[in-house]
Subunit: 763 residues, 2 copies
C-alpha cells in the first residue's frame, strides 16, 4: 500500500488529543458528574481467605449520606440460560483474597462512603491462606478456595495473542487441587539433544506479581434509567467486550447497555472490563448513577496484576553455537481465580530460537490474591527473562559473542514455535543485525573498561488479530471524520487520521477521529495485543479509500470527466491538466448532503478480518553500572531496536518504545508486589511499590527496523508489546557483564545484588 | 422491493419508544442536568419596533444567582470570510418585534433568571411598528426595520419541498420597501381563458399566523469545554443542519460541535435549529453549560410560526366543468426577517388541477413580528384553502357534484405544475375515487337532511428528497442495530426497524434503531418535508440487504454451501433442505467479532440519492353542524383518504393522519395569533391561543390508498404533510354545505359565523 510520496503517513505527527491532555483539560471518568450520582466504595475482606458468616450493614446505614450497603444478595445478577445463577461480582460466603470486596457502600459523598465502609461489620471465620508457589502446589497444602468457581477464564488472554487461542494438545496430568491449568510442549528427543551438546546452562528464575502501574485507577460510572437501559462511562480498553460483560451480569439485552469510552489514563492490559459489572449492578440495584473509582490501595489489592512466576530452564548447544535442546518448566502464580498467560509464555520462551529438541511443561497455580490480568505482553516478560538470561550465560560458556549466538540460532520465516505454528515473515534477524551495528554494541569494550557492563536481550510478540470495521465520512465543511469502535490508548487515533489523510492528500489535522459509543460504533475489538494499528488501521485505510472513490465518482459526474483523469489533493478534485476544471470537497459535500442533493453522501466503509498476525521483535541493549557497596544498579544508556514494519507516526512509535523500556526497567529493578505469609499485600501504595520515576530512566535511543508486514497499513506491525518485553533480561545481562554476577530473581534488589557481589568477591 | 409474504413490513407495529413515552420516563432536553449548568432567560423587547439606546445590566447582576447578562456585544460571534460580522442572535441596536430577545440573563436558578430579566433596564426609542398586510405593503408606510438585515433566508423552506429549491424565473417587479420576495407564474392567456368560461368564482381568503403548537417548547442545552468543543443537546428536527448553524455562529470548525438529538416533544416544522446558536454562543461566552427552554409566552413571541396570508383567487370553467383559467394573487405576511413558503403555496394552489391558462402573483411582506418558520406542509394549508374553497363554490355555480368536478380536472402523471414541473405518477385521482365510494360521501344527502353539511377538500404535497446513508450492524447477541443520523419525530425509527427486520426474517423488536450524534452518525437530512421514510427508508433497506448479504456470505463459507442455497429466518441461516446444516446469527457474530475471528464484522451500509420526489395527496371529508345562534361549529365525522403508496406500519401512518387532521381542524376553527395595532401579540399563552383539545376532534376514519412510489421502500410515500393540509377548506366547505354561508377567513370564529348566518338569514 506504500505510495510514491506520502503526504501524511510516515511523518512525525503531534497527537490530535495532545491539547486536552497537556493542559489538564481532559475529563476522565472520575471527573464526570451526574445528578443523583452516588459514590461507591468497596468493603474489603480483612483476610486473604475466610468464610463470611455475616455482614451487618446497619451501622453503616445509620451514617448520614450512606444510601445503601450492597452485599452479593442485593445485586441484580442474571440467571444463566441453564437456570444457574450468573457470576456475582461479590462473594456469597467465601473471601479468597485480602481486600476482596465483600460489600459495596453507596453514599452521597466520598467521605460518607469511607465512613460507611469503616462501619460495615463483617463476621469472618478465617481459613488457611496460601501465597507461595510451592505451598500452593502441595497436594496436601491449603486450598485456595473451598467453593468451586467458574472454569478457567481465558477470555482476556485470548484478546492479546493468537497463540493463546489455540488449546494445548496432549495428555492432561493429574494435577494438585490448586493447579488450575497446565501446558506441555514437546519436540524431538531432549535427552539426545543434551547428549549432543558441548555446553549447557540451567538456571531457575522468579518474577513477582507486577501491577500495570496505570496512573488513573480503575474507574467506572454507570447510569441506569427506569426502563432498564444503562449507560456505562468507563476507562476501558475494550468497549464491546465491556458491554457484553455488563449485559451478561445484570441480565439485559445487549442493546440496553451503552458503553461510552472515556479517556484511559493508562491501561497496559489492566482495563478489559474489571469493575464495570459490579458498578452497573449496583447502579441498577439502587436506580441511581454510581461512580466507583478505586483509590490506589484498592487498586493494588483488587485489580488484576501480572502473575508472579518461577521458571527452570536448561539449554544446550554445540561448540559452534548451534543449539541442540531446551528443557523448561514454568509455574505461574495465579490469583484466586484461574487465568494466567501460561501458554504464551511457554511458546515465546521456546520460540525465539531453533530448538530441534524441546520440552516445556507449564503449570498455573492459584493463590490467595486478586486475579491475574493482562500486562502489556502478558507472559512474555517472564518467559523472555529466562531464555534471554540462559542464552547470555550459554554464550559465555561457549566463549561466543552473545549477539552472534542469537544470530546463529534465531528463528526466521518458516521456523516453528513450540506449538508447531510456523513463524511468518519476521524481523528478528534484521533487528539483531541492526543492533549489532549500533555504536553502543560496537563500543562495549570501552564501556567495560569504564567499569560498566553491556547486556542485550530479545523480546518477541506474536501479535493479535481481530476483525474490525471503520467508517470514513465526508462532512459539510469538506473535511472527513473517521468513526471507530476502538479505544485510543496511545495515539492510534492520530495514526488513523494520518492513514485516512493520505488517501485525500491532506494533513492529519483535517481528519477527525471519533470513537463512538457501542450504540453506534462499528465493531472493533479491545485495544490490546499490539493489534489496533495492525487490524483497525487497514479498516481505516479501506474506509478512506472507499470514501475517496465515492468522492471521485461524484466529481467525475459533476466535472463530466473520467475518474482516471482526476486527482485529489488539498481538498480539491481536479481534472489533470485542466486547471479550471475542479470541484472542492466542500462543494461535493454540498451536492450530496443537502435538500434535493443529487449524490449519495460520502460514507466510506472498510472492514478487515486479517487472520495472519505480524509478530514483532525488539532487541534491547543496556549499559549499566552497579555500586559494589550498595548493590544499586544505574542504567546509563539504553538502546531499543525494533522491527515496526513501517512507522506511520514515528513519534508515536518511539513514544511506545520509550514507555515500554521504562516499564521493562521497572520489571528489572523495581516492581514487585510483596505479600506476607498470610497473603496480606505489603506494597499497596506507591510509597511501597516502586514504579520508575523519570530520574531512574536513562536516555533511550531507538532504532526502527522496517521489515514490512503483508497486511498492516503501509506494512506497519503492532509496536505496543515488544518494547515492554526484553527489559528485565537486558538489565540482568548487563549486570552480569558489569559484575560477573548472574541474578535470576526480578526485581533485582540492591540488597540481594550487594550480597551476591560480596559472595562473588569472597569466592 | 415487495416480497411474497412479509414478516415485518405492513404489520401494525407498536412504537419501539412507546414505553418511555407512555410511562413519562422519557428525558427531554429540559430534564438534563449538568454540573454548573446555568438557566438562560431572554429579556424581551417591550416594543414591536424600537431603537435600543442602552441596556443597563447592573441591577440584574446585583441579584444573587445571576451570573451574567449578555447583550449582542458579549456573544462570541464569528467573523465571516469577507471580514464582516456574522449573524448575531441578539440585535445590536434595533428591535423589530415585541418580545424579541435583546439580552440574555444567565443564572444559577430559574427564579434568579426571572428576577434578572425583570431587573435589566433597556432604554428604547419607540418606532412605528406595522403588522397589517396593507399597511406593510404601503410604500409610504412604516419600515419594518431601519437597518438592513441579511438577505432572504430560504434554507428552511428548502428543507421541505423540492419545488422551493427552484428559483422563480422572469421579471423582478419594483417592490415596496417591506416586500422581501415575490413570485410570478404564468401560463397561456388568462383573459382568453376567462372569456371561454361559462362560470367563474372569485373569492378572497385570509389566514392568520399559526403556531406549530408543539407541547415541548423550544429547548436547548449547550455545554462547552475549555478547548473549544461544544456539545449541544437539543430538541431539533435537524441534527446536521443545527451543527452547521452553531458552528457558523460561534466560528468553530464543524467537528468541534457535537449535536445530540434529544427526544422532540412535537416539532411540526418549528424546530430546525432556532435557539441553538444563541444558547451555544451564550455557553461559550461564560464557559459553562447553558439551558434555555422557552416558557410558553416566549415561544409564542419569539419562535417561528406559520405566516399569515391573504389570497385572492378566481377560477373559471365551462359548463361541463372543464376549467379554463386561474388568476390569483397571494401575499404572505412574514415576520421581521424575510422568509415564507410563498413559492410552494403558489405552486400547490395552481397545481392540483389542469389550468390551461394561469396567472399567479405572490408577494411576501415583512411585518413587525417574529420570523416565520415551517409548519407541517408550509404554504400548503393557505394555498389549498383558496383553491379548494373556490372549487367547491365553482361546483355549486356549475350545479355539479364537487367531487366529480375535481375528478374531471384533477392532475395525473405528466400534467404540469405552475412552475412547469410535470407531476410524476401520483394518486390524486385514486384518492378522490376512494373517497367517492365512502359511505359518508355516498350518504351526504342524509346528513344534509339531519341539518348537517358535508364538505370535501384536497391537499397535496410535492414531497422532499435528500441523500441519506444508513448503517445496519450485527451485534454479538445476533440482533441488529440500525444507526442513523435522522431524528425520529413520529415513529419512523419503528418503521425502519420493520424495514430492516424484513431482510432478516425477524420481528421489528429484534432491531435496535439508534440515532447517533453528529460525531458518529451517517448523514441524513432534517426530519421534515415528508421525506424521512421515503429517503432514509431505502437507505435502511439497502443497509439491511447489505448486512444480509454479508451474513449469507459468512454462512456460506462456514457451512460450505452456496449463498443461493441458504435461507435466513428466525435468527438462523439454514441450508435449504438440510435441516442439520445451520448457523445462527449469534454464531456468525461470534466468528466475526472476536479475537482471531475469521470473518469481517457484519456492517451493512446503504446510501440513497433519490432525486424524484413522491408527491402525496389526501382528500378529506368533514360532516359538520353549526349552531345558528352561537355560530359554533361541531365536526361530527371526519374521513381522511390518502395515497400513502404503501403503509409499512399502518398504525403509524394512521397516527400521522389523525394528528394532521387535528391540526387541520385547528387551522379551520381555532388557531390564529392575534396582534394589536402596535404589533403586540394578544395570544401569547394557551389560555388565549386555542389548540384543539381531544373533545374538539371527531372520530376520524382513515382510508389508505396504495399507489406505490417508484423509489420509496416497498412503494411507501411520505405521509406526514398531506393530512395536515385540507382541514381548513374541508371544514369551510362543510359549513357552506350546512349553512349556505361561505367563510373565507380562518380560523372560522363562532362570532363571525353567527353574524354571517344572521346576515344570510336577513337576505
Amino acid at each position: 500500500m506504500a505510495q510514491a510520496a506520502p503526504v501524511a503517513v510516515g511523518k512525525r505527527t503531534k497527537r490530535l488529543d495532545a491539547p486536552e491532555k497537556l493542559t489538564g483539560q481532559e475529563r476522565f471518568t472520575g471527573d464526570l458528574r451526574l445528578p443523583g450520582r452516588l459514590i461507591a466504595r468497596p468493603v474489603g475482606s480483612a483476610y486473604a481467605h475466610a468464610r463470611i458468616t455475616g455482614i451487618d450493614t446497619a451501622p453503616a446505614l445509620a451514617i448520614p449520606g450512606v444510601v445503601a450497603v450492597l452485599t452479593a444478595a442485593d445485586l441484580p445478577i442474571a440467571t444463566r440460560d441453564d437456570g444457574s445463577p450468573g457470576e456475582n461480582p461479590l462473594p456469597t460466603d467465601e473471601a479468597t483474597y485480602a481486600g476482596q470486596p465483600v460489600a459495596l457502600v453507596l453514599a452521597e459523598t466520598e467521605a460518607a462512603a469511607e465512613d460507611g465502609v469503616a462501619a460495615v461489620e463483617v463476621d469472618y471465620e478465617p481459613l488457611d491462606a496460601v501465597i507461595a508457589i510451592d505451598r500452593a502446589m502441595d497436594p496436601d497444602g491449603p486450598r485456595v478456595r473451598l467453593i468451586e468457581t467458574a472454569s478457567h477464564d481465558d477470555d482476556e488472554a485470548g484478546m492479546h495473542n493468537a497463540d493463546a487461542a489455540q488449546e494445548a494438545e496432549g495428555e492432561q496430568e493429574d494435577l494438585p487441587p490448586n493447579v488450575s491449568n497446565s501446558v506441555h510442549f514437546s519436540r524431538g528427543d531432549v535427552a539426545a539433544g543434551f547428549a549432543a551438546a558441548d555446553k549447557s546452562v540451567e538456571l531457575t528464575f522468579t518474577s513477582q506479581t507486577v501491577h500495570q502501574g496505570y496512573i488513573e485507577t480503575q474507574a467506572c460510572l454507570a447510569a441506569p434509567d427506569p426502563l432498564g437501559n444503562i449507560t456505562v462511562y468507563t476507562s476501558t480498553q475494550a468497549l464491546f467486550h465491556t458491554r457484553t460483560k455488563v449485559a451478561e451480569t445484570i441480565g439485559v439485552p445487549l442493546h440496553r447497555v451503552n458503553v461510552i469510552a472515556m479517556p484511559v489514563g493508562g491501561g497496559f492490559g489492566g482495563k478489559f472490563g474489571l469493575i464495570e459489572p459490579i458498578v452497573a449492578a449496583a447502579a441498577v440495584a439502587v436506580g441511581r448513577p454510581v461512580l466507583l473509582q478505586y483509590n490506589r490501595m484498592e487498586d493494588f489489592l483488587t485489580a488484576n496484576p501480572a502473575p508472579g512466576c518461577r521458571i527452570r530452564l536448561k539449554v544446550g548447544a554445540k561448540a559452534d553455537g548451534t543449539i541442540t535442546a531446551l528443557d523448561g518448566e514454568m509455574v505461574f502464580q495465579a490469583g484466586s481465580v484461574a487465568g494466567s498467560p501460561l501458554q504464551i509464555a511457554a511458546i515465546l520462551m521456546g520460540g525465539y530460537y531453533r530448538f530441534p529438541n524441546l520440552e516445556i511443561r507449564g503449570y498455573e497455580v492459584m493463590t490467595n490474591r486478586t486475579k491475574s490480568g493482562a500486562y502489556r505482553a502478558p507472559g512474555a516478560q517472564q518467559g523472555s527473562l529466562a531464555i534471554e538470561s540462559v542464552m547470555d550465560e550459554l554464550a559465555r560458556e561457549l566463549g561466543m559473542d552473545p549477539l552472534a549466538l542469537r544470530l546463529h540460532n534465531c528463528v526466521v520465516e518458516g521456523d516453528q514455535r513450540p506449538n508447531g505454528a510456523a513463524w511468518p515473515r519476521i524481523g528478528l534477524k534484521e533487528t539483531l543485525e541492526a543492533l549489532q551495528k549500533h555504536p553502543r554494541w560496537q563500543g562495549r569494550a570501552e564501556s567495560k573498561a569504564r567499569g560498566r557492563g553491556v547486556g542485550i536481550a530479545v523480546g518477541g510478540w506474536p501479535g493479535g488479530v481481530e476483525p474490525a470495521t471503520a467508517v470514513c465520512r465526508l462532512d459539510a465543511d469538506g473535511k472527513l471524520t473517521v468513526v471507530l469502535g476502538s479505544v485510543d490508548l496511545n495515539g492510534t487515533n492520530t495514526t488513523f487520521a494520518q492513514i485516512a489523510a493520505e488517501q485525500f492528500g491532506m494533513g492529519a489535522e483535517d481528519i477527525q477521529v471519533s470513537t463512538a459509543s457501542t450504540d453506534a460504533a462499528p465493531y472493533a475489538g479491545a485495544t490490546g495485543g499490539s493489534k489496533v494499528t495492525y487490524t483497525v488501521g487497514p479498516a481505516v485505510h479501506k474506509a478512506a479509500a472507499d470514501a475517496r472513490q465515492q468522492i471521485l465518482g461524484i466529481a467525475a459526474q459533476h466535472l463530466e470527466a473520467a475518474v482516471e483523469d482526476l486527482e485529489l489533493a488539498d481538498g480539491v478534485v481536479r481534472v489533470k491538466g485542466v486547471p479550471t476544471a475542479s470541484v472542492s470537497l466542500q462543494q461535493i459535500a454540498g451536492m450530496s448532503m443537502t435538500f434535493g442533493g443529487k449524490y449519495e453522501p460520502v460514507f466510506g466503509r472498510g472492514s478487515t478480518a486479517i487472520t495472519e498476525s505480524a509478530p514483532g521483535f525488539a532487541v534491547h541493549l543496556a549499559e549499566v553500572s552497579v555500586d559494589s557497596l550498595t548493590g544499586e544498579t544505574t542504567v546509563h544508556h539504553y538502546v531499543a531496536a525494533q522491527d515496526v514494519g513501517y512507522a506511520i507516526n514515528p513519534s508515536a512509535v518511539e513514544g511506545q518504545i520509550h514507555g515500554g523500556v521504562a516499564q521493562g526497567i521497572g520489571w528489572a529493578l523495581y516492581e514487585g508486589m510483596a505479600y506476607d505469609d498470610d497473603a496480606q499485600l505489603l506494597t499497596a501504595s506507591l510509597m511501597d511499590y516502586t514504579i520508575p520515576k523519570a530520574d531512574m530512566i536513562p536516555p533511550i535511543e531507538t532504532v526502527l527496523v522496517h521489515v514490512p508486514s503483508e497486511h498492516g497499513p503501509y506494512g506497519a506491525k503492532g509496536v505496543g508489546e515488544p518494547p515492554a518485553i526484553p527489559g528485565a533480561a537486558t538489565v540482568a545481562n548487563a549486570i552480569r557483564d558489569a559484575t560477573g554476577v548472574r541474578v535470576t530473581d526480578i526485581p533485582i534488589k540492591p540488597e540481594v545484588l550487594a550480597r551476591a557481589l560480596l559472595a562473588d568477591a569472597a569466592d
